[in-house]
Structure formats: structure tokens, C-alpha cells
């Protein structure tokens, strides 16, 4: 597919590879500067309590302490003002309340106060001297419980928005949304077979290795510099400015290297606190979250309760589908139930569909995005039901999906029609794969399949290209590189300029040094920032044509450029040689582009998995796993495969082991990587990948985002495989050994015991 390109589709060594493997890459915790102080945040020991008083006097008097702050140090602001988080919004009162609690704490680990001291140990010890008097309140930890009348209320002023209309009902349900098409009752009346199941998924964490960190310096001139680990430096800037009520131009955010994010490093937690401590002390302040705080206080993905009902005719045509989705938002509204409702039936062309979604607050940390937020939960339910439907109809599960697959022109349940998509191509690739064609064999084994969808988004991106006299080009961008995007963006510029990928030197810079660039999230970076690089490179080509025209005394439009060679009237000059003459032909050549592109193409991914279950222990072994994904155009196939493998492994962990073990009083009992069981290389086989390329017509190179769709189907595929291995349908995540043993002991019943 990539033979028409010279750079795109190749596998050059990543530009940041040497720094990463030699340990020279600088992360947020590496920041050092003269006079640096260290911050520590005191967190709530209670899941739900009213703060009656905070006495910081003993902490402030502790030797080595330079400042102590609480929420009262924040400026008074209009809490109803919406804060633009780059790809979503939230009221300022919620954003600020999550950074430092106001009159209530809403989850264990909720930040209450902060200390700056000469070192981190002094800061931590002093934080222990802060006296907080709490009135402990009953907590509620699950969506279904929180929705009940009489449940403890997290926000006494949270009024339910019902189908878009504000109501006077005060409850833990922030909003009830509905998507529908066709006539759901008439649709089910046409069905010969109907399958309906309830599903539960646990809260899981993104599990990035690097903890959150931030260093801030509030300078004497009023400007603030921040160095941090983030997926969106401009979001940090804008959100911090809103919380501190200062203009955005007064803040410069430098994104350091990032040790994983997966969506969890979009929200702001530490930056406003470090800035305020710096203001109080006149010195730079660094805060690094302990791992326990990362688990207890930063965005996990929602736990959920779901009910899905699907009806089909005997020939396998799905005629109706209905979903009820109740998602836990954590402490503040904003559960990912909206995208869940938009994706739950996305893989299918169904005439009659209805989705009801509920965004429910509970006494757990405020949830954040996690790779295709909301879609894995929904796909676990839908794809399990489709698998059961295939079994009842006696149709191969991939054939059933192919019979009903969404394609160009299919109307989604949320309204719009799909543009060109690769759902059918992914399903066909799954069916024709060596994995699916291979025998399974052996006792206690099962094979499962599932498909999933995720949107890609656009958002603004900027790029600058500086042509060096030696013919290399320095690329300046604002997208945090969390998955090899330096390479994928540089390669798009290289393709246009006719250079090698290694001749482009990409740098991710601070918010003062590049135009606004949205978050690295929503599978947008290779698409949108890549598009900016493409346009900036076109700008360079235009200018280089002008320079060549000057040399040859012809008009610029008489110069042609192809593959890095400029020609006109028998004259010819290569990019490098021409670059060596830019000084004499007019000075620096700088290509610029700022884009806000449309045309983001969605991506479908499929999982095929073979499992073996130990009937003595309940342990599930992944024997073989294949990820198939439509990526539009694989700019750097090795990094595309890495995304597919990474998302698949995270899905495996989500399916089999990962969960927040919560005590009844809202304490996370496994807030360490020792007890929060994520899969390691020893737990999974090599993840096989099949890249499908259905070019996105909305991008010059056909790019679709690749970072998210791959985490959508694994949970359901594994559940389906385990169901076939045991004869018991699994409807709860995770499907850990105790849950499997319980299912085996209860074998014969139609559903997994609760």
C-alpha cells in the first residue's frame, strides 16, 4: 500500500530513541533548579466527609516548611464558568474542587492542603501536622446504588439534566441522555431470537508508569513557568489560568517527556497547587505524586452497569438493539457514558436502536479518559450479546458481524452517517487470518472474537519548519509524544520535502514557542499535527521554489518540485544544495502551518483470542492473541503495531485482573502496582498484528488515528473465549481466577452468579 511513498510506510529509528534508551531524556521528576522547594499534598482519609475546619499552624511552624495552602488560597472565581479542557469542558468549580477540596471531600485521596518545604520528607512530615476536622458522611461507590432514591448525595446542588433539560431534581445522576433511531418496539417484534444480558465492569486505572508531577515558578514579574508531565501543555496552561484567575499569556508550560498517559494525563491536578506554593514562597516548587495518590486521586476509567438487548431474524439480520448504560463519573460529573452511547452499536447497521445513558457521581476519584473512553465497557456488553446471538442462531460469529456490519452511509444511533470506514475490511481480515483459520484443540480452551470502534478527533495543531543551511530541517511542534508521534509527524514532513525521516529533527516545545495545539488524545496527533506538518512542508516547498526561481531568473510557478529535486527549463537543484543557498536568495526559510482539520476518520479494531482455563485455579492463560485494525495509512508501521499491541495488552489486563478493590467505606485496598495486577510481558504471548489500510479520505496521506480502537474489543473477545471454554457466560469484569472458579462451581446456570 505504501509503494507510492518514499518515507511513509518505512520504519526509521525514532528521533528520541537515543535519549530514551540512554536515560538522558528529561522527565518532570528530573527538573532541578536553584532554590527548588518540594511540595506534598495532604489527602483525605475519608471517601465522603464535610470539612469542618483546617488548622495549618503547626505545619507552617515546622522547621523547613516555607508555605502551606488550602482551597482558601485560591482566588474567588465564578464557579459556573466552563473550563475548556481541549476536548471537553467542565465547570470551574469542579476543576478547582478536584485540585483542592472545598467544604467537602468526595473520595479518599481528595486533596485537602499542600505544603512546600526544603525537601519532600519535611513536606510530608509537616503535612501530617495539619489538623483537619471532618464530619464523616456515608459513601456510595457504585452507579446503581448511587442512583437509588435516598442514596448519600455527593453534591447537594447537583440537579439532574434529563434529556437535555435542566430539572429541579437533586440526585447523583448528573444527566440522562438518549440516542435513538427507528422504532425499537417494532424492531424487536420482527426478531426471531432475542438475547438480553446485564453486565458489570470495575473501575480500572490507566496504569502509566510515570506518576504525575509538576514544577512551577511564579516569577517576580508575575509570569508563571510550569514544567510537567501532560498530554496537553495548552490545556494545563488554560486550566491553570482559569483556576488562578490570571490571563493565559502569563503562563508558560513546558511539557517534559511523558512516561505514559493513555488519557489520564489530560486533567490538571498539581500545576495550580505548585504555582500557588511558588507564589507564596517566591521559589520554584516541585510536586511528585506518590503511587498511592496516583491510584487514589487521579482519573481511573468508570466502573459501569449495563444492560444490552439485541434481536435478530433467523438469517442473522439484527433488527433491533437496546442499551442501558449507567457509568460512574467518580466525584464530579463527566463519566464517559456519552461516547459509550455513541459507540455501543457503531459496528452494526441496525434499523431500530435505543440507548439510554446515565452519568452518575460516586465517592471514587473523578474519572478521566482512558483510551477510547467508554467504548470498551460498551463493547464488552454488546459484543458478548452478539456472540451469544451467533451461538443461538448457529452462525459463525464473524459471519454474523459481517452480515450486519456498518459501512459507508450507515446511520449511527447518534445521527450522522459514516463516511468511508473499514469495518467490513477488518472483519474480513479477521476471518481470513492465520489465527482464525487455525485449529484450537485441547481441553478447557476457547476462542473468542469481538470488534470495536472509536472516533478520531481533529482539534487545532501547529507546526513550524526551519530549514538549515545543511539541508536538514528542524520541526517544532506542540504535541506531547506519548507513542512515537515525533517520528510519525516528521515522516509526513519528510515525505513532502523529499527528505529522509532522519533529516527532519522534531522538537516538542513550550506553549510560548508554538501555536495552540490540542491535547495528544482522541487518536488525533498523527492525523492533525501530521496535517500541520504536511501544510508547513508545503509552505517550505513554495518558498524553496521561489529561491530556485531567483537562482535561475525564472518565475516561481515555472519551478517544479518532486522528491526533493527542484527543476525548471533544464535547471535542476536538490533540496540540500538549495538549502545551502537560502542566505543569498533571501534569508531564512521557515514553513508554518496552523490547522483545525475536519475529516478525522474513525477506526475499527478486532480481537481474536485463544484462552485456556485451569479448572483447578481459575487462572486464564492467553494462548494466542491477534489484533486487526484499520489504521487508514500506517505512517510508521512499527509504531502502529506497538499501539495495537499496547492497547490489546491493556485490554487483557482490564479483562482478567485489573480492578479497584474498594472497602465498604471507600478505601482502595490495592493502591500499589504490587496489588493492582497489570499484565507484564510474562503474562501475555506476542500480540500478533494485522494492519488493514482503508485510507481516510479526510487526510492527505489517509491517516486514521491508531491509539484507541485497539483497546475496545479485547475484553469482550476474552469473555467470549472464556465462555466457550467453560460453557458459562461471563458478564463481570474482571474475570479474575476467583470469578472464574465461582462460575465453574455454578456451571449449569445460565449466567454468572453475582
Amino acid at each position: 500500500m505504501s509503494t507510492q511513498y518514499s518515507v511513509i510506510g518505512t520504519r526509521p529509528i525514532r528521533h528520541d530513541g537515543a535519549d530514551k534508551v540512554t536515560g538522558r531524556a528529561l522527565y518532570g521528576a528530573d527538573v532541578q533548579m536553584a532554590g527548588l522547594l518540594h511540595g506534598f499534598i495532604l489527602r483525605s482519609p475519608h471517601a465522603h466527609a464535610r470539612i469542618l475546619s483546617i488548622d495549618t499552624s503547626k505545619a507552617a511552624a515546622f522547621p523547613g516548611v516555607k508555605a502551606v495552602i488550602t482551597t482558601h488560597d485560591f482566588p474567588a472565581v465564578d464557579g459556573n464558568k466552563m473550563v475548556d479542557l481541549g476536548e471537553g469542558d467542565t465547570p470551574l468549580s469542579y476543576a478547582r474542587g478536584n485540585v483542592l477540596a472545598g467544604d467537602k471531600v468526595l473520595y479518599r485521596g481528595h486533596a485537602v492542603a499542600a505544603v512546600a518545604a526544603v525537601n519532600a520528607h519535611v513536606a510530608e512530615e509537616a503535612a501530617g501536622l495539619i489538623e483537619v476536622v471532618y464530619e464523616v458522611l456515608p459513601c456510595v461507590l457504585h452507579a446503581v446504588d448511587a442512583m437509588r432514591s435516598g442514596a448519600p448525595l455527593l453534591h447537594e446542588d447537583l440537579r439532574t439534566t434529563e434529556l437535555g433539560e435542566a430539572t429541579t431534581t437533586i440526585s447523583n445522576i448528573a444527566q440522562h441522555i438518549r440516542q435513538s433511531k427507528g422504532d425499537i418496539e417494532a424492531g424487536f417484534a420482527l426478531a426471531d431470537v432475542i438475547v438480553e444480558r446485564e453486565f458489570h465492569t470495575s473501575t480500572v486505572h490507566q496504569g502509566y508508569i510515570e506518576p504525575h508531577n509538576a514544577t512551577a515558578l511564579w516569577n517576580n514579574d508575575g509570569r508563571i513557568s510550569i514544567w510537567c508531565s501532560t498530554q496537553g501543555s495548552f490545556v494545563v496552561r488554560d486550566c491553570t489560568a482559569a483556576i488562578l484567575d490570571i490571563p493565559v499569556s502569563q503562563i508558560k508550560v513546558t511539557p517534559m517527556e511523558i512516561g505514559g498517559g493513555f488519557g489520564g494525563k489530560i486533567p490538571v491536578y498539581l500545576e495550580p497547587v505548585a504555582a500557588l506554593l511558588s507564589k507564596k514562597t517566591g521559589r520554584p516548587v516541585k510536586i511528585v505524586m506518590p503511587r498511592q495518590a496516583v491510584f487514589e486521586a487521579t482519573g481511573p476509567t468508570p466502573g459501569s452497569y449495563m444492560k444490552v438487548k439485541v434481536g435478530a431474524k433467523k438469517d442473522g439480520s439484527i433488527v433491533a438493539a437496546q442499551a442501558y448504560l449507567a457509568f460512574e463519573a467518580g466525584a464530579y460529573p463527566g463519566a464517559m457514558v456519552v461516547p459509550a452511547s455513541m459507540t455501543v452499536f457503531a459496528a452494526y447497521d441496525i434499523a431500530n436502536a435505543l440507548v439510554d445513558g446515565y452519568d452518575v457521581v460516586v465517592n471514587k476519584p473523578s474519572t478521566a479518559a482512558y483510551r477510547a473512553p467508554g467504548a470498551p465497557n460498551a463493547a464488552f456488553a454488546m459484543e458478548s450479546v452478539v456472540d451469544e446471538l451467533a451461538l443461538k442462531l448457529g452462525i459463525d460469529p464473524l459471519d454474523l458481524r459481517l452480515r450486519n456490519a456498518a459501512k459507508e452511509g450507515t446511520r449511527r444511533v447518534d445521527g450522522p452517517r459514516f463516511p468511508r470506514i473499514g469495518c467490513v475490511e477488518v472483519l474480513e481480515a479477521m476471518k481470513n487470518s492465520p489465527h482464525y483459520q487455525s485449529p484450537l484443540g485441547g481441553p478447557n480452551r476457547g476462542r473468542g472474537v469481538a470488534i470495536g470502534f472509536w472516533f478520531n478527533i481533529g482539534l487545532p495543531s501547529s507546526c513550524t519548519l526551519n530549514v538549515c543551511a545543511d539541508g536538514n530541517v528542524n520541526l517544532i511542534e506542540g504535541s506531547t509524544d506519548i507513542g512515537g508521534s515525533r517520528a510519525s509527524i516528521a515522516m509526513q514532513a519528510a515525505e513532502v520535502l523529499g527528505l529522509a525521516a532522519e533529516e527532519i529533527h522534531p522538537t516538542v516545545v513550550d506553549t510560548d514557542s508554538i501555536g495552540y495545539t490540542g491535547v495528544t488524545g482522541g487518536s488525533r496527533t498523527t492525523f492533525a499535527t501530521g496535517w500541520a506538518a504536511y501544510e508547513a512542508a508545503q509552505d517550505v516547498v513554495r518558498q524553496m521554489k521561489e529561491r530556485a526561481a531567483k537562482l535561475w531568473d525564472v518565475k516561481p510557478e515555472a519551478v517544479e518540485a518532486s522528491g526533493g529535486v527542484y527543476k525548471s527549463n533544464g535547471n535542476s537543484i536538490g533540496f540540500k544544495e538549495l538549502a545551502g543557498r537560502i542566505a543569498e536568495t533571501g534569508g531564512p526559510v521557515v514553513g508554518r502551518a496552523a490547522v483545525n482539520p475536519r475529516g478525522a476518520g474513525g477506526s475499527f479494531a478486532g480481537s481474536i483470542v485463544d484462552v485456556e482455563i485451569d479448572p483447578e485455579t481459575g487462572k486464564t492463560t492467553i494462548l494466542r492473541f491477534t489484533c486487526v485494525q484499520d489504521v487508514g495509512r500506517a505512517i510508521h508501521p512499527a509504531y502502529v503495531e506497538g499501539q495495537m499491541q499496547g492497547g490489546s495488552v491493556q485490554g487483557i489486563g482490564w479483562a482478567l485482573n485489573e480492578e479497584y478493590f474498594m472497602s465498604p467505606d471507600g478505601r482502595m485496598m490495592n493502591s500499589s502496582f504490587l496489588d493492582y495486577r497489570m499484565p507484564t510481558a510474562l503474562d501475555v504471548p506476542m500480540i500478533e498484528t494485522i494492519i488493514v489500510e482503508v485510507p481516510n479520505p479526510g487526510h492527505p496521506f489517509g491517516v486514521r488515528g491508531v491509539g484507541e480502537a485497539n483497546i475496545v474489543p479485547p475484553q469482550a473477545a476474552i469473555a467470549n473465549a472464556m465462555s466457550h471454554a467453560t460453557g458459562t457466560r461471563f458478564t463481570r469484569l474482571p474475570m479474575s481466577p476467583p470469578a472464574v472458579m465461582e462460575a465453574i462451581w455454578c456451571q449449569g446456570s445460565s449466567s454468572q452468579p453475582s
Binding site: G164, G261, G264, M336, F418
Partner: protein, 78 residues
């Protein structure tokens, strides 16, 4: 938003831009604009899709003849 449009899921409306289109619907179904807009721009949690494609300029987007326009939730990602 069907509770604002007498339960109708589809409307045929004139309008060369999304701004005009919203104004024309609001004239027919008062309250429609208030649901979508925060002062003079689309609410941050609302996107507009024209012929299936999310359009980043919101109210300022030009609407081609016979276009299909949807107001959908703004999509996030991780």
C-alpha cells in the same frame, strides 16, 4: 432535543450557515438556540456534524445545499 421539536427527529430548515440554521429552527421551536448555545457560540459539549463530518467552526460553518446537519455530543478521547 426532540423534546424541543414536538418529538420530531428530523427537520427541513433553510440556512446558509449553521448560525442561520439554528436561528431559523429557534424561530420555529423557541428554546432550541438556548439549548445549543452559550452566548454566541456552540456550547463546549456540543459539536455540529455536516454530512457526517464534525465541522470545527461551529456556528460559522457554511452549510452546502441539501446538507444533512446533526448536533451531537463533543467527542473526547484518551
Amino acid at each position: 432535543m426532540r423534546n424541543l421539536t414536538d418529538g420530531r427527529a428530523e427537520l427541513e430548515v433553510e440556512g446558509a450557515t449553521i448560525r442561520q440554521l439554528v436561528a431559523n429552527i429557534d424561530a420555529q421551536y423557541p428554546g432550541f438556540a438556548a439549548r445549543l448555545l452559550d452566548q454566541d457560540r456552540l456550547r463546549l459539549n456540543v459539536s455540529v456534524a455536516i454530512d457526517g463530518e464534525v465541522a470545527p467552526l461551529g456556528l460559522l460553518e457554511t452549510v452546502p445545499p441539501a446538507a444533512e446537519v446533526h448536533f451531537i455530543a463533543a467527542i473526547r478521547g484518551g
